[in-house]
Structure formats: C-alpha cells, structure tokens
Symmetry: C2
Amino acid sequence: MNKTHYELIILGSGPAGLAAGLYAARARIDHLLIEKGAAGGQVLLTDWVDNYPGFPDGLTGFELAEKMEAHARRFGLNTLTANVVSMDLLQTPKQLTLEDGEQLSCNALIICSGARPQRLGIPGEIEFSGKGVSYCATCDAPFYRDMHVAVVGGGNTAVQEASHLTKFASQVTLIHRRDSLRATKVVQERAFANNKIDFIWDSQVIAIEGGKGVERLRLRDTAGKETTLAVDGIFILIGVIPNNEMLPLQLLKAEDGGFIPTDTETRTAVPGVFAAGDIRSKEMRQIVNAAGEGATAVLAAEYYLNNLTP
Amino acid sequence: MNKTHYELIILGSGPAGLAAGLYAARARIDHLLIEKGAAGGQVLLTDWVDNYPGFPDGLTGFELAEKMEAHARRFGLNTLTANVVSMDLLQTPKQLTLEDGEQLSCNALIICSGARPQRLGIPGEIEFSGKGVSYCATCDAPFYRDMHVAVVGGGNTAVQEASHLTKFASQVTLIHRRDSLRATKVVQERAFANNKIDFIWDSQVIAIEGGKGVERLRLRDTAGKETTLAVDGIFILIGVIPNNEMLPLQLLKAEDGGFIPTDTETRTAVPGVFAAGDIRSKEMRQIVNAAGEGATAVLAAEYYLNNLTP
C-alpha cells in the first residue's frame, strides 16, 4: 500500500471492470482495479446466465464472475478492495479519495461502477431473487415458457417487456400502482391489444411468497383491500439506479437519471476519463456489451496516456 | 427457401453476427442470419484466443467460433449460406440481392460483414499465419516474450504497436518500404527513443520462411539487394480492409477507408440499418466488443421494429 499513483485506475469489478482489467493487465499498463466487494458486480446476483456468447449451455452468474476474474488475474491484475467516496478529475493527476481518507491518483480513469435495479423493498423480494423474481426481461423471459408472470411498473420498459414476455409466458399480468400507464402511446396500445396481457390497476405488491420459487403475490389496492395473485414469476421493472454516488456528475454531464454519456469509444466529457458498462447512458445493459466496452475503454485510455488523438 | 421476407436480417457470422443471432433468436424475433461460409469470421483464422473474457486458459479460434455458433443455434438461429451482392436500403421493405439473383427482404438489417487485414501477398504469409505471422499486436504481443519480432508498416498502428511490443519482445525490428514513417510525430519520437526498436528502411519483406514457426524473413531493398533477417515472429500492420463490397457506401456515409459510422447504439445513417463488429468505424477491433455490439444492435433493431424512439 505504498504505491499511490497509477497510470490507469479502473473503478468497479463487474464485467466491464474485469474486461478492462484483463486488457490493461495483459497490455502491461501500470494499473489498479478498485473493487468494493467480491468481483462480478450484478452478475453475482444472477442465478443463471444464458446469453453470454460462448457458453452454449449457460452457467451461473457466480461461475461466470469467477472465470472473468481468474482470466484477468492470470495476466497480473492488480486490485484493491476499497470504497471510493469522492474524486477530483480536474487536477493533474486525477485524485480519488477512499473512505478511510487515503488518496490515490491516476492519469486515466475508467469508471465501471455499474447500476442496480430499483427494488420494491418488500418481503420475499431478496429471498426469491433469481428464483422467480427478475429485474431483466431480456435476460430471463425465456425461462418462463407457458407460465403466468406478473410485471410491476407502468413506464416504457415495463409495458414493452410485458409484450415481449407474451412470446414465452402464457399469461402476463401487469400490476401498476396508478390507474394509467406512463409508457408512450404506441407501447400502451400494443399491450392493450395483446390478449395474453391483463391489468391490475391502482395496486401495489406488498409481499412475494412461495416455496422453492415464487408462487403468489400479495396485493393491496388504493382502497386498502388485500388480495392474492398466483404467479410463477414477477418482473420488477420500475427503474435502474446508477452507482454514481462518488462521481462528479455535473462535470461528467450526467443525464438520464444520473448515467454517464460517452462517445462510441467510451470517452466521457472529461479528458482521460472513460466509462464502460451499466453506468453508461445507454439502452441495453447486458454482460457482453459491458465487457466489450471495458475492453474498448482500455484502448481509448492507452491512446490518451500516449498523448494520441486516436 | 420459400420464405423471402424477415423482420430482421443479420449479415455475417463472425462474433458480432453470432451474438446478434443469439439475441435475436432468443428474443424470438423473425430473423435470418446470412453467412458466406463457415460461422466464426476472422476468429476461425485465429490460432489462439487469449483475451475473450471468461476463458481464463484461452482457447482456439475454432473452438470459440464453434461455441458461439452452438449457443445461437440452441435458441433457434436461422441461417442461410449465401453471398449478398447488393442491396436497396431505401425501399420498404429493404431489399437484398443474392449472387444467384434471388431477392430477400427485411424491415431491419444488422450489418456484421467484418473486415480483414491487408496482407503482403508473399510466400509463407498464409502458411505461417498464427504460427509467427500476426495482424494484431493487441491480440498476440504477449506470445512473444523475450523474442525478436519484426513489424511491417510505417503508419500510426505499426509504429505504435512496435512500441507496445517492446513490453514483451526483447527486440523489435520495424521494416518500412520508404525512408521515413507516416505515423504522427509523437508516435515516431517514442519509437526512435526506444532502444529495443531498430529500423530497416527502404526495404520490403519478400518471403517468410521457417519450420514449425517463423524463423527468418527475406528482405529486398530499393536497390534490389536481398538479405535475410532472423526473427521469431512478424506483425504485418499495413491496414485493415472492410468487407463492404455489397454495401451502399454513400448512403451509409462510409468513412475511414470504407468503414460504417454508427452512434453508440449501433444505428447507422439509414433508419432501420445497424452495424456491429469490425465493419464499424472504430478504434479497437476485438472479439468481445464485436459480440457486445451485436447484442446491442438487436435491441436497437427491436426498438426500430416496434416504432419506438429510441
């Protein structure tokens, strides 16, 4: 812990951070990857990963995270477990402050701090996560063939994914706390016209119950009346929250609820600062594009470190 | 072969095309992937893939291509082996013409036709490809620890990668057909200052020779004098050629020698047309970012097909 300056610091150890770490270590760049906890990020919470190209039979999120970490370590990844609480990106070199007050500095920074789904915060939600509770229809829809699933939410993502889920599920019940949807008109119309989708209005899910997996939801309507709905799964699609607490958001021109915009080469608004993975302002948050962006970011950082305009 | 219209056509079966195919098939989009030959693209020509995240021990290009194809097929990938010779992207639906004259149409198109390295076209080049002949320093530099390698070229990529290679190789000889480099000044200066790099000017490689792997190069200078240089490997870094013969380049606003520019979500200048992988105008051409872009393109295409912005 004597060394406090690095050419490149990578913040976060999800798929974007681990891919960046792999590419940085393999290219022998003087680097440090700062991870908050165990490597893998959101992937660790993913029961089964079915769509990371190259694993035809799928694998657990834990296995994939382990493989990605081992891969980067094989090339000499340097890591530090710490919590970055703030940073000064306008100084040269850039300064990062850790929770214990220690300062680290770097010439280039790749932000891979990720994002997390907005949770309902109700009993059973954590317990059944990956066992019937999902936050990503693109990831998990095919697991619900000919089953009955609920979708919670009223925005574009929720209503669109309700339609998408009908390609697999036999019935989709959309549960919304209000009496109308926020989603754009064309999305709403498609859902209303789909006879596999039914709606429960003015209602909240107050508990998720079951045995080995989700079996039923307890609902409460605005009048306070409680009912039970039997389902095989529940997709909670009420938003994604960027892990941006430690970032200078104004400087990075954060948008879309706090996500960081970049160009196609992952460059942010601040020279020498790059962003990859779920923290980026983008449409699709998947493991494979996070990993791809992490790799791209290292080359962009290398160009920057070498004073090259690409 | 009766069906001639698809919601989505994917052109190309390298990592970008196979990832797109996996995501399209898994999302049950009405799709067709058109491949020219065996699936895998450039990956098939890659002896050993050491940096696709998730395979800590590496694997052969053939194995990775096979896994990616099997993965997409597991979800019902539809493929056609054919050669697309031209297309009309302004009609609705978009029209693709095959070599045999047949017409296919689609509402959305993802172009993953890839790129290929500019070759020298000399004896031994194909024979020793992957056995000492490389076209990608990012990919293969770590295989040449403490060895003597040659670099052919005089542009930014060649000179920069010569510097990068000195992190691994004991000696790097840059061979250039002219008496000065085209690379930008800062790149040149770094190379000239590096005592592991030496230069052979006004010379061309006319043959690559060896046994199990590359052992020596035959060189000819502008005066016609021939010499032999003993090396363990040769990096041919004289350019990348996009596979764009079938594309309407002006319409797609092709740049950088025929590559297709896109926004961060892989959208090209033509609505409903997306580009992913090496055919894109970008800095880093790697398997993992090609695959990531293929996945991203499918979501962008789905949004387009559903009349959603974005």
